[in-house]
């Protein structure tokens, strides 16, 4: 097995036993990136030089017998939504195209402390808003299984780079399904932890009450490895939970006896693709054959989940994105041109004797805001800012935002009730497999429905994972979603691992054509 096809847990053993060096591992992935990322376009920036330097340092330290971090020498790709000290963090937006944070996100700091090698920053939908990575201000990422398809999103680059063996481990973020959906589309394992499990400090906020950072990897075991490093209470994030941190790897090999699986009636209704349904059905049989008991459950308010999500997330986003105003950092419109335009407009209004027009003419500050934000944000971001600002405005707030909060509570109550009867909830990650690039760009509502099975977990704050469970006739991966009660990631990972012990979907990798020079 070549280095790039080995799971991270195995690579780590090879590194520890000095059978391979960190430089060799890093170089192997950098070579893979050089060869194929021209087509996949999963990275916004690759830190080859600094990654190799860091790898060399780790090899030296290992040679001297110094203690090393738990991920020492393993390359990790990071979604460009996490702030990296001294390294451009664009969040997929023109607004932050040149933004260099002077600090590390807590997750990044933990990866560094674990001696992981930050290999690159991955592409994403602008400000994590989207489900195809086509909303990236820079370029769309393609699906390594079929480059005419999207990898999903918003963590499209994070999923695609693992699928294309350009990184053994990758960090994504999930606000409504942004880890699980691209993991499903790209045939990799992606975990959205419980809200509060992983620090959000330094995660550029989309919707603060829904955002959660999580791992993407080839296997559940690898995801557990990465989660162990990034999870845990952080005093810099008031919403990070002060709860005990289990060792997710310690018991992962122990099968869950008598596992009770809940099948959500509402997740097998209209809109579910037949092939997806069949693959998920097969996967459930697999669990049953290993002693799991499956029962149908109902999440009656799940039908309101999309509507609820598309009120709450834009409301928070409209507020979180107010800071990008061209004043302190980030994109600013061409001031000289702006002032010249204003002067010209004033002149014309004065010449026309238009008193009202003159009175309503923007101040330079107002025009600076207007243009900087108009030019710096893409259409989907603007759409959500407008949705959110509207839903929070006087006269509408109670009907939209406040009502959505109440429904959110009911959705959580549904889960609490369901988890009294079952240990995990199982179903498809998405209604369909990866769709074609450009297929949905003009239909935002169809795009929003991609989140049908995933948003509820964010609204309820629970944990969810997507693992590959099949292939369509067209050769695209199908994702199986498992959901667990809050802070039961260990159970979730054990169940996913149990499934991966019995199946080989997670070992399948696309055949990529190298870029023709």
């Amino acid at each position: 097995m070549s280095l790039i096809d080995s799971p991270a847990t195995e690579l780590l053993q090879l590194l520890k036993s000095a059978e391979v060096t960190a430089v060799e591992v890093t170089q192997a992935y950098l070579d893979q990136i050089a060869r194929y990322d021209g087509r996949v376009k999963s990275f916004l920036s690759v830190g080859s030089e600094r990654a190799l330097e860091q790898a060399a340092t780790i090899d030296q330290r290992r040679g001297r017998g110094e203690p090393l971090g738990e991920l020492a020498g393993l390359p990790v790709a990071v979604k460009d939504v996490l702030c990296t000290d001294g390294w451009v963090t664009s969040c997929g937006s023109k607004m932050l195209a040149d933004f260099v944070p002077p600090y590390d996100a807590t997750v990044i700091a933990r990866l560094k402390a674990a001696d992981a090698i930050l290999i690159g920053k991955t592409n994403m939908d602008e400000f994590a808003m989207g489900g195809s990575t086509e909303n990236s201000a820079f370029f769309p990422t393609t699906n390594p299984w079929d480059v005419s398809c999207t990898p999903g999103g918003s963590s499209g680059g994070a999923a695609a780079c693992v699928a294309a063996s350009m990184a053994p481990l990758s960090i994504g973020s999930d606000t409504g399904g942004s880890i699980r959906q691209p993991a499903g589309f790209c045939g990799v394992t992606g975990l959205k932890p419980t809200y509060g499990r992983v620090s959000r400090y330094g995660l550029i906020a989309f919707a603060s009450s829904l955002d959660q950072v999580g791992p993407l990897a080839s296997t559940a075991e690898d995801a557990a490895l990465l989660l162990r490093t990034i999870a845990g209470h952080d005093p810099l994030d008031s919403t990070s939970a002060p709860v005990d941190q289990p060792d997710y790897l310690a018991n992962i090999d122990q099968p869950l006896d008598g596992l009770r699986l809940g099948l959500v009636r509402e997740h097998f209704g209209p809109g579910l693709d037949d092939e997806v349904g069949a693959a998920v059905g097969q996967a459930i049989k697999e669990f049953e054959s290993r002693g799991a008991r499956v029962q149908e459950i109902s999440l009656p308010h799940s039908k309101y989940a999309i509507a609820t999500y598309y009120v709450i997330a834009p409301c928070e986003a409209s507020s979180n994105l107010a800071r990008y105003d061209g004043v302190h950092y980030g994109y600013r419109t061409d001031e000289a041109a702006m002032l010249a335009d204003l002067a010209e407009e004033r002149k014309q209004l004065a010449a026309a004797g238009d008193e009202a027009g003159l009175a309503n003419l923007d101040s330079p500050l107002m025009r600076l805001y207007r243009l900087s934000r108009s030019e710096g944000f893409g259409p989907e971001v603007k759409r959500r800012i407008m949705l959110g600002a509207y839903a929070l405005s006087a006269g509408y707030k109670d009907a939209y935002y406040v009502k959505a909060l109440k429904v959110r509570r009911l959705i959580r109550n549904d889960y609490d009730a369901a988890f009294r009867d079952v240990d995990l909830i199982v179903g498809p990650t998405t209604p369909t497999v990866a769709f074609g690039l450009g297929e949905m760009v003009d239909d935002p509502l169809a795009m929003y429905l991609q989140d049908l099975y995933t948003v509820s977990a964010n609204l309820a704050g629970i944990a969810g994972i997507s693992v590959p469970c099949g292939m369509t006739s067209t050769g695209l991966p199908v994702g199986l979603q498992l959901q667990a009660p809050p802070f039961q990631e260990e159970r979730l990972l054990r169940a996913a691992h149990m499934f991966q012990q019995a199946t080989d979907w997670h070992t399948k990798r696309p055949t990529l054509a190298a870029e023709t020079p």
């Binding site: 702030c83 409209s318 107010a322």
Partner: protein, 492 residues
């Protein structure tokens, strides 16, 4: 001009900077006067991905104040985002409290010892915490429109204390502010320095004008930019007159077309208010709970423990001092209004000389005068309460009169000596009673006209004898000379 009666309705919004070492949601320093933008971090300048973490000390100071203002403290309070765009607000929102503030429904009692108004309780609508914005500095000199922003202040903890519209005059408003500032000073929650912006006042004012059976209300005006209590008083006086004149010229009522709320700024140079915001901008702040922060809970036990640790506050202290030391309410007021350290000095002095009234008089007439001359605070006063108490005891014993005692006090300050040492240096010694009597006899014998006057009951005549006595012996006590002479004349 008709002589219409009107009532002035005033409510005040006071922003108090809480005296914490660090900001409300990050660990940057709150100290005043540093180089611009040197006390900032990713959190307070709103960099992407940064998150706020509440400063428990700020909450504790806010809670202390709210309890002292007799507010109800709900068990549960939360943070909300107040959203608006401004360059000195880098997050695009202020973290404040909207529908569940940390305290509500309190009161502060105000009174005027001179009787300008009746003692009354002013309702406190609410007191809530929020983070401060930065400072914009506009340089609009000669064709330039250069604005600079200092974010050092951004994130400094503020307590916004909103009064009910219970104030009825500029005098009452001033008294409310003085009492509030005194309370905050006693609590040690703020330095209340208006020049440095630690205490800021906005006022809402309108008039209720009797129109036969009904009352008409003038449009509410919010007055800003008042940089001292005196400015508040003057601005409110000006604004009440302006509104009345405006009403007489053009009677527009609150709520009628053109009767919307406006904002005016106080121009201290011109002593007038000027319009700042003409249009009623229905400012929609799109408040919603800040998802980055957890709600804060305060149990009854928490509140009780805060209440128990408040110490004696000004209103109670005035009553205590008057009762304990037998001094007038007016004197107790003067002492208490000087602050806790001066009250402590007074109490120590009263104990040392065992005479509350004498101690009160000396503190008010001499200590305060000297502090004023020295431009010092009581803790810098060179004479300890014990040392001054010794001097006051000499007075009580009749060893020295008040006038000479003032010279002694000055000598104590100049030579940093005790009362006894200063008296010795000034050659003051007690005059023997028999010496005094023989001196008086001599004086009466030498001044038959004075004796005649005294016999006729013209007691003032004795003054001439006192002057002569002091000439012969500067240590004599005028009061004793007076009483001895009168006694001797009676015996004649």
């Amino acid at each position: 001009m008709t002589n219409t009666a009107y009532e002035t309705i005033i409510g005040l919004e006071v922003h108090v900077q809480l005296q914490t070492n660090t900001k409300l949601f990050c660990r940057c320093s709150t100290s005043f006067g540093a180089e611009p933008n040197t006390q900032t971090c990713p959190v307070c300048i709103g960099m992407p991905g940064s998150l706020p973490v509440m400063n428990r000390q700020a909450y504790a100071l806010g809670l202390k104040t709210a309890v002292a203002l007799n507010c109800q403290i709900p068990e549960f309070t939360k943070w909300d985002r107040k959203q608006y765009f401004y360059p000195d607000l880098p997050k695009g929102y202020q973290i404040s409290q909207f529908d569940l503030p940390m305290s509500e429904h309190g009161w502060l009692e105000i009174s005027d010892p001179k009787g300008a108004f009746e003692t009354k309780k002013i309702g406190i609508t609410r007191a809530h915490l929020e983070d401060d914005a930065g400072k914009s500095m506009h340089d609009e000199a000669a064709g330039r429109s250069d604005s600079r922003i200092d974010l050092n202040r951004t994130g400094t903890p503020l307590l916004e204390i909103v009064s009910d519209p219970d104030l009825r005059s500029a005098d009452e408003a001033r008294a409310y502010l003085s009492e509030l500032k005194l309370l905050l000073t006693y609590l040690g929650v703020s330095d209340c320095n208006m020049q440095e912006g630690s205490l800021r006042v906005d006022a809402n004012i309108n008039l209720h004008i009797a129109q036969g059976e009904r009352t008409a209300a003038t449009p509410i005006v919010e007055v800003k930019n008042m940089n001292s209590f005196r400015a508040v008083e003057r601005a409110l006086r000006f604004e009440a007159n302006r509104q009345f004149e405006s009403w007489q010229a053009n009677p527009v009522e609150l709520g009628s077309p053109g009767g919307h709320k406006t904002t005016r700024g106080w121009d201290d140079q011109m002593q007038i208010t000027r319009i700042q915001r003409e249009k009623e901008e229905s400012s929609d702040y799109r408040y919603f709970p800040d998802p980055d922060l957890l709600p804060v809970t305060a149990t009854e036990a928490d509140v009780a423990s805060v209440r128990g640790a408040l110490g004696e506050l000004p209103a109670a202290l005035r009553v205590t001092l008057a009762k304990k030391y037998g001094i007038d309410a007016y004197d107790a007021d003067v002492l208490v209004n000087q602050g806790r350290p001066l009250v402590a000095y007074f109490e120590e002095l009263a104990a040392a000389c065992d005479d509350g009234r004498r101690a009160s008089n000396w503190v008010q007439q001499d200590v305060l005068r000297l502090l004023n001359e020295m431009d010092a605070t009581i803790d810098q006063f060179p004479v300890t309460a014990a040392a001054l108490g010794e001097l006051l005891k000499f007075i009580a014993a009749g060893d020295i009169d008040n006038t000479r005692a003032k010279d002694v006090l000055q000598e104590m300050i100049d030579a940093q000596s005790s009362a006894a040492e200063a008296m010795a240096k000034l050659g003051i010694e007690k005059v023997d009673a028999s010496d005094l009597e023989s001196l008086c006899r001599e004086l009466l014998a030498a001044n038959p006209a004075v004796v005649a006057d005294l016999k006729e009951g013209k007691m003032k005549a004795v003054g001439a004898l006192i002057g002569q006595a002091k000439k012969q012996n500067p240590n004599v006590n005028p009061a004793q000379i007076k009483s001895i002479c009168i006694e001797l004349v009676k015996q004649l």
